[in-house]
């Protein structure tokens, strides 16, 4: 696997930066031949992970930092989204569809990340912050279609 590009982005934990983060990752990813539909899926996954860092990790405290590391290989985007926030007690529970520790929220963030991306993984423990790692390869659609036969 050859890395052809790297970037690291760090920004304040404010809601306005959710849009900034997804636009930046999509601009980076667009150096590969992703379809527009793929780029939209990447945007949703990034929004969910960054939004979680802001709301859950930092409990909406606006002066903390969220970090995104992204690599491009010749055929995939790999991203890691990190915060130094409060961390997740029980990751398996957190990953369940419709589970949320916030009654106002839907518990679908991780569902979207898992549906739209590949090699999804969460590393987290209480007080230690959270890392969400995921990737997406170009041409997944074709691979899926042919494995259907």
């Amino acid at each position: 696997m050859q890395f052809i590009n790297h970037m690291k982005l760090e920004f304040l934990s404010i809601p306005a930066n959710v849009a900034f983060a997804r636009v930046t990752v999509a601009a980076f990813a667009s150096q590969l031949d992703f379809t527009l539909a793929d780029l939209e899926e990447i945007k949703v996954a990034v929004s969910e992970a960054v939004g979680n860092s802001i709301i859950h990790g930092y409990e909406s405290i606006p002066d903390r930092f969220v970090r995104i590391y992204a690599n491009l290989t010749t055929d995939a985007l790999e991203i890691r989204i990190e915060d130094d926030g409060k961390g997740i007690e029980d990751i398996n529970k957190a990953l369940q569809p419709a589970f949320s520790t916030d009654a106002e929220r839907l518990g679908l963030g991780f569902v979207f990340m898992q549906s739209f991306m590949e090699n999804f993984r969460v590393e987290s423990s209480p007080g230690q912050g959270t890392k969400v790692i995921m990737s997406k390869s170009i041409g997944t659609r074709i691979a899926r279609a042919s494995s259907d036969q």
């Binding site: 809601p15 306005a16 930066n17 959710v18 849009a19 527009l36 539909a37 939209e40 899926e41 945007k43 949703v44 929004s47 969910e48 939004g51 802001i54 709301i55 106002e104 929220r105 839907l106 679908l108 963030g109 569902v111 979207f112 549906s115």
Partner: protein, 112 residues
């Protein structure tokens, strides 16, 4: 996000434009709730023609208003979804509870 709201008979027609995410969710929720608080609207139509992006924070606002309206016996319709937005709504199950129509007029006729 820009937000255009209009009352047509007893239906509130909401036409957001732009991206519905965490950055705009609070404002979106507040504007809708303030309008609904005035009590003129029994039903709700979301015209999504100019919404280019929705994430789970945006969905939360749609679903919250759905609950409020349907608790009072009103109907909630959603129209003119862009493909990438439909994908997210579909995956969330929202399209199974809110009826989708092609156009605002179609939805308004259905409400009657």
């Amino acid at each position: 996000m820009l937000l255009d709201v209009e009352i047509k008979k007893d239906t509130l027609v909401v036409r957001p434009s732009g991206e519905l995410d965490l950055g705009v969710a609070d404002r979106f929720r507040r504007t809708l709730d303030e309008t609904l608080d005035r009590g003129q609207a029994r039903n709700l139509v979301f015209n999504m023609a100019r919404v280019s992006f929705v994430d789970s924070s945006g969905l939360g606002v749609l679903l919250g208003r759905y609950k409020r309206i349907s608790k009072n016996g009103g109907k909630v319709f959603i129209v003119s979804l862009q493909p990438q937005v439909r994908k997210v709504l579909d995956l969330s199950g929202l399209l199974r509870i809110m009826c989708e129509f092609h156009s605002e007029n179609e939805a308004l006729e259905k409400i009657g």
